[in-house]
């Protein structure tokens, strides 16, 4: 029973990942800066649909294990999302890729300047600010950033409080 339950979860998760990666592979040549919306929408639909599929196909097992199976599926989805997030926005990973092929190494100053294929740390920060504005967390008006939107305020207050609670104020 446990093995077959696990198989249902694994197959559903693999299906979701294949669907999403397949979509990204097919749309790669025509991808624009607004394509993230379609990708996010696909995930927003397929994660609840996958959870329902797992739930519906395990009618014959005890309810507790059925809930557990849906939780395991959702945990797998979160791991996939986190992995994608690290792969696309990993700051330290990008530093490592910038160092690849430079056998003699590089100075910190040069690394900072060349960060992300020459975008530089400044370019990274501007991109992050544009993303925050796109997510409606902050207002961006030309060269002026702020104020925070109500949602942005909630995120900032929560994040700051958690950093303070863990005494991690100088990170990020």
């Amino acid at each position: 029973m446990i093995l077959s339950t696990f198989s249902v979860v694994a197959v559903s998760l693999a299906g979701l990942v294949l669907l999403h990666v397949g979509y990204l592979a097919c749309t790669r040549p025509i991808r624009t800066s607004a394509s993230w919306r379609a990708s996010a929408a696909l995930l927003a639909v397929s994660i609840p649909a996958g959870s329902w599929l797992v739930w519906a196909s395990l009618e014959w097992i005890p309810a507790s294990l059925r809930v557990g199976a849906v939780c395991l599926f959702l945990a797998g989805c979160l791991v996939y999302l986190e992995l994608r997030s690290v792969l696309s926005r990993g700051y330290s990973l990008r530093i490592m890729l910038d160092l690849t092929g430079r056998d003699m190494g590089e100075t910190l100053e040069r690394l900072r300047f060349d960060y992300g294929n020459g975008v530089g740390v400044r370019g990274l920060l501007v991109r992050r600010l544009k993303t925050l504005a796109r997510l409606r967390l902050v207002h961006l008006d030309g060269h002026q950033i702020g104020p925070l939107t109500p949602l942005g305020r909630v995120v900032a207050v929560t994040g700051s409080a958690l950093r303070q609670a863990l005494r991690m104020e100088g990170v990020g």
Binding site: L83, L99, G146
Partner: protein
């Protein structure tokens, strides 16, 4: 709540409460800019172990209930790590926190970028990478170690497989 549901919910809550309490206590007692993901992972394993023991104590060690506890724990721990990653590493969170503290609520983009660029955060990241053996630092020069080269190859392969670009 049914006794069977209780024998699953209580162990999960116990394990997660132990994880959160120990995490906050250790991080507060010895603050560090290092995210210490390995230590947090060990704490999470301890929390899951406690859940399993509590479930065994309440319901005996039966397979389906044990699996339910483990799988619900998996979701709780994954959520916890998801939030922690944002708290400990997110550049966007740092920018939002800075905007929260600024007078008048808004700032010139150039000022914000200059402030961040002037901080030691870039060097801190390189230092964490040095500590875990991914880079070596000699004077002001940074280079990948063989382990760093292997990880960076792995990252490239994985990002190609997943149709992703490591933009940073």
């Amino acid at each position: 709540m049914e006794p069977r549901s209780l024998s699953i919910a209580l162990p999960v809550l116990t394990g997660m409460a132990a994880l959160v309490i120990l995490h906050v206590a250790i991080w507060r007692m010895s603050p560090s800019p290092d995210p210490r993901v390995g230590l947090l992972g060990r704490l999470a394993l301890g929390g899951v172990g406690l859940s399993v023991l509590a479930n065994g104590f309440l319901a005996g060690f039966n397979g389906p209930d044990l699996c339910a506890v483990l799988w619900i724990d998996a979701l709780a721990v994954t959520c916890y790590f998801f939030v922690y990653a944002g708290v400990a590493r997110s550049v966007s969170m740092t920018l939002l926190s800075r905007l929260l503290r600024c007078q008048g609520g808004s700032l010139d983009v150039e000022t914000l970028v200059n402030e961040y660029a002037a901080s030691a955060r870039f060097e801190d990241r390189v230092e964490v990478m040095r500590r875990i053996g991914l880079v070596r630092v000699a004077g002001k020069t940074v280079a990948l170690t063989p382990k760093g080269v292997a990880v960076s190859r792995g990252v490239r392969m994985l990002s190609t497989l997943m149709c992703s670009d490591v933009r940073g």
